[in-house]
């Protein structure tokens, strides 16, 4: 049994909450941007060279933003919750390494795929994009799943040296056990993985429907609408499992006013969180779900190209709630089932008050950054959707 005392300082606590909300917003924005990953698993819907290049070029202008969001997500966690960074990345080693590997492969694939003499051929780069879109998404989803189901670790309270695989009855596959250890919630982690993948794929199809000229590529657009319908069925099943988990699971709770920071099990913890603060989280979650489903509905049945905007906003809201459920209201966001008192909370894993304060000042620039991203997005969009002419133009730097 270790001991994780926490600093009870109101300003520090508010900063920890503030930073957790920023993490949640970044998480939500990242989920929106995974339309790139989802779209990468849709190359087989293209039946001609032109169709394939339309998909490639549409996603190829956006993938860096997703990549950058992931980098910032990592950076923000590093600065704001360094103990989480150390324990989760160092502990669930293989999960993060494989996610990283998937993103390493992605980063070159757009640029190299259609270039002559690219060594391993177009098919290989396409396979890399599928790998990133499928394995990357499922792993990230499952990793977020462990925010609720817990992991198998403990650490030294003074030196913070990590011991992964502490629970004698648990597996130790450096994180990959989260997918096979059903006694410790693998079903939930897997459902989260599939949910994130299905959601990304639907968003990907919607993005392509919006971004590619519907008149020039009518058959491709039809096939993509079919994808939206079919994936939505998968999504509903996974979502059902996740919601069932949230409503029934016992959660890892602690009292935010208790200086010892003692963590204990609480039945229905996540349900309690949904209903806390005037059920605001439940309301936002429902708004998010309704928006997402509405986007799917108009895309699948109303021939709309604007589904992405509804579902996109919806997934941002859902993503925010996933993280606030996991970390706020006296909840351990990275629990340990091996040693309850090693569980990480926003209060025992954060950076110092001074650092969080400095970073809070820096965070004022975030709306400005979002502003210029939106402006650039608009600049690139106002010329209309991607056409055959643009793909064929040697000056467009088309892939």
């Amino acid at each position: 049994m270790t001991w994780a005392p926490i600093t009870v300082d109101a300003t520090h606590f508010y900063l920890q909450v503030y930073w957790w909300i920023i993490i949640a917003v970044l998480g939500g924005l990242f989920l929106l941007m995974t339309f790139v990953q989802g779209g990468q698993t849709l190359f087989h819907t293209a039946k001609s060279e032109d169709e394939e290049r339309a998909i490639l070029n549409s996603l190829g202008r956006k993938w860096e933003l997703t990549f950058t969001t992931l980098v910032l997500f990592g950076g923000a966690l590093y600065a704001a919750f360094p103990l989480f960074y150390a324990i989760s990345f160092g502990g669930a080693y293989w999960v993060w390494m494989l996610i990283l590997f998937a993103f390493v492969l992605q980063a070159v694939s757009y640029e190299y795929m259609n270039k002559p003499n690219n060594l391993i051929g177009k098919g290989a780069y396409k396979a890399f994009l599928y790998f990133n879109g499928f394995v990357g998404m499922v792993l990230i989803g499952a990793a977020v799943g462990t925010f609720f189901t817990g992991s198998n670790f403990s650490y030294d309270p003074v030196t913070k040296v990590l011991h992964w695989g502490t629970a004698p009855e648990g597996f130790n596959l450096r994180g990959l056990e989260a997918a096979i250890d059903f006694k410790h919630g693998a079903w939930f982690n897997l459902a989260m993985g599939i949910l994130v993948f299905a959601a990304a794929r639907i968003l990907g199809a919607m993005w392509l429907i919006n971004d590619i000229d519907n008149k020039e590529f009518p058959e491709l657009i039809e096939r993509l609408r079919g994808i939206v319908k079919r994936c939505f069925v998968v999504l509903l099943v996974a979502l059902g499992v996740v919601l069932f988990g949230w409503l029934t699971m016992k959660g890892y709770a602690y009292d935010i006013h208790d200086p010892t920071g003692k963590v204990y099990y609480e039945d229905g913890k996540y349900l309690h969180n949904l209903l806390a603060f005037g059920a605001i989280q439940l309301i936002i979650l429902l708004i998010g779900l309704v928006l997402y489903v509405f986007g799917v509905f108009v895309t699948a049945f109303k021939n709309s190209t604007r589904g992405i905007w509804f579902s996109g906003l919806g997934i941002v809201l859902i993503g925010i709630i996933v993280f606030t459920l996991a970390g706020l209201n006296g909840t351990s966001f990275y629990p340990s089932y091996a040693d309850l008192q090693s569980s990480l909370t926003i209060q025992n894993s954060s950076g110092s008050k001074y650092t969080l304060m400095v970073m809070a000042w820096v965070s004022i620039s975030v709306p400005f950054v979002l502003g210029y991203i939106a402006w650039v997005w608009y600049q690139m969009k106002k010329g209309g959707p991607i056409t055959k002419e643009e793909i064929a133009d040697p000056e467009s730097h088309a892939y």
Binding site: T68, Y78, A86, G90, V158, Y354, T355, V358, M380
Partner: protein
């Protein structure tokens, strides 16, 4: 704690391998982004189509490189967590914060405006496009600034911006402004970006010279070469000037690094620089004189004292002095430092034990002991506390030769870098003069020199990076956190497996990159797309 030292070596190898791969692409991005912006500015100012062609050709090459730079870059941020988790926990505030700031203020700028610069030629106005190209360049360079602020902290963790907090057992930030403005980081930043400008200028000059040699794309090559030679000449001179300043900072903050880089085993007054030499790898304690430490050497007398202390007769400590101490110059022996460090560790544990059982008096006593001032400079008021030496506790009863890096590696890396740096100045000077006189097009010899010099800046920048990083060993945070105590406790096979996973991927993607690059260069500006 028991760390598998064999695993530690693999974790270091993995980090070194991924860092070197990444650093092939970084300097190129830093400089090429500006060169592309120069070319586009000339195009917009003159309105001449050939400058647009020049811009787009170099942009294509920039893009091919940029992709692999991103691929090899993302792994680092996460590698600090996966393989260096103890490090990440201890320094998250001071090291993670600049990384997060980099993400917010620089990386987004780079990635967002890259989209316009690459794909927006027909989608946005000329002015917007040109601004985007410039913002891409500025964003890349700002990225480097924040990364090197983080690295600067590792090289020189100062009490001006951080302290060891006994409550959390971490290094915590006390002054953000001091962290980002500290001279070590600033000179490192300027040295690194100007090296990047030199590297990319030489690339453009070399490829242009290749076209001239083959009699192809002459007008294109002459125009590109003119811009590259001017930018390269200014940059390469600046690299040397700021490099001198950098060496001065290192000499005053990391004595083991400068001593290793110069093979200075025994401290000297008016210490020389070894211009050329073959150093031996000796146990520093047993070395009697610096002459026996070299198979052969040619010296520049008094230059190291001048470089490091700004005084030709000043004393520069050698590795032996840093281990055995030197009373005359107030250098404490390693053993003393290690003993104090060990005491600091004991105070830390005592403090936490006392806290646990609720013995506040004992906790306060341990805390007072931990922060006890053990040395004070009467003139400047600079104080040293026990807590500052906590890292040295690790080296108590260990082989004292562990306290400095392998001398030949650092020596060769440093000297080859410096030598190449002077060659670049000379080459750019000759090329620039020839271009101004209008003789570059006929000067086959100079063109050949430029072509064969293309790979050299990559060797120089890699060796520069090695000087900085190997030279800092055995610390991740100099003087505070030993490398051996920074690593994630993992089974050896995990680290070996990821090492080979990334090595394989990088080798394959690296070869693919070169093949694509050669193809683009071969087909020339017309066939760039």
């Amino acid at each position: 704690m028991g760390i598998d030292l064999h695993m530690l070596e693999w974790a270091r190898a993995q980090f070194a391998m991924t860092a070197l791969f990444h650093f092939f692409f970084v300097p190129f991005t830093l400089g090429m982004s500006f060169l592309v912006a120069f070319f586009e500015t000339i195009y917009v100012k003159t309105g001449k189509e050939e400058w647009k062609e020049i811009t787009q050709f170099w942009q294509t090459i920039f893009g091919i490189n940029f992709a692999l730079g991103l691929a090899t870059g993302i792994i680092h941020e996460f590698e600090f967590g996966t393989n260096w988790s103890t490090y990440s926990w201890v320094v998250g505030d001071l090291f993670g914060a600049p990384l997060a700031v980099e993400g917010i203020v620089a990386f987004f700028m780079e990635a967002t405006f890259a989209a316009i610069s690459f794909f927006g030629w027909k989608r946005v106005s000329t002015g917007v496009h040109l601004s985007a190209t410039w913002l891409l360049a500025i964003g890349s360079n700002l990225s480097a600034l924040w990364i090197l602020i983080a690295n600067g902290f590792m090289q020189h963790p100062s009490n001006e911006f951080g302290f060891f907090n006994i409550d959390t057992s971490r290094l915590e930030m006390t002054n953000f402004w001091a962290l980002i403005t500290q001279p070590v980081a600033q000179v490192k930043f300027l040295h690194t970006i100007s090296a990047g400008y030199t590297l990319s200028s030489l690339f453009v000059l070399g490829i242009s010279a290749l076209y001239l040699l083959k009699g192809k794309h002459k007008d294109f090559a002459k125009k590109s070469a003119a811009v590259a030679a001017a930018f390269g000449l200014i940059s390469s001179i600046f690299v040397a000037v700021i490099g001198d300043e950098h060496a001065y900072e290192v000499a005053n903050t990391q004595p083991t690094k400068i001593a290793s880089a110069e093979g200075l085993y025994v401290g000297e007054k008016g210490a020389p620089i070894v211009a050329i030499g073959i150093p031996k790898n000796l146990p520093a304690e047993e070395v009697k004189s610096n002459d026996e430490a070299f198979v052969f050497k040619i010296e520049l007398p008094k230059m190291l004292s001048l470089l490091g202390k700004r005084d030709p007769n000043a004393y520069v400590p050698g590795l032996k002095d840093l281990i055995k101490g030197n009373e005359e110059y107030g250098i404490w022996p390693l053993k003393k430092l290690a003993e104090i460090g060990k005491e600091a560790r004991e105070d830390l544990f005592k403090y936490h034990e006392a806290k646990k059982v609720g013995d506040e008096a004992a906790a306060e006593a341990a805390k007072a002991d931990f922060y006890k001032v053990i040395w004070e400079d009467k003139d400047t008021g600079v104080k040293l506390t026990k807590a500052d030496l906590i890292g040295y506790g690790y080296f108590l009863d260990k082989n004292p030769d562990l306290i400095y890096p392998p001398v030949p590696s650092v020596f060769y890396a440093f000297h080859i870098m410096v030598g190449l740096g002077f060659w670049f100045i000379l080459l750019f000077l000759m090329s620039w003069v020839a271009i101004v006189k209008g003789t570059f097009e006929q000067n086959k010899f100079l063109q050949k020199l430029a072509v064969i010099s293309v790979p050299l800046p990559w060797i120089a920048t890699s060796f520069g990076w090695m000087t900085a990083e190997i030279g800092r060993q055995p610390w991740t945070v100099f003087g505070v956190l030993p490398t051996a105590e920074s690593v994630t406790p993992l089974a050896l096979t995990n680290v070996q497996a990821t090492f080979f996973l990334f090595l394989t991927a990088f080798v394959i993607l690296g070869i693919a990159e070169l093949k694509i690059l050669f193809t683009v260069v071969k087909s020339g500006p017309k066939g760039a797309h």
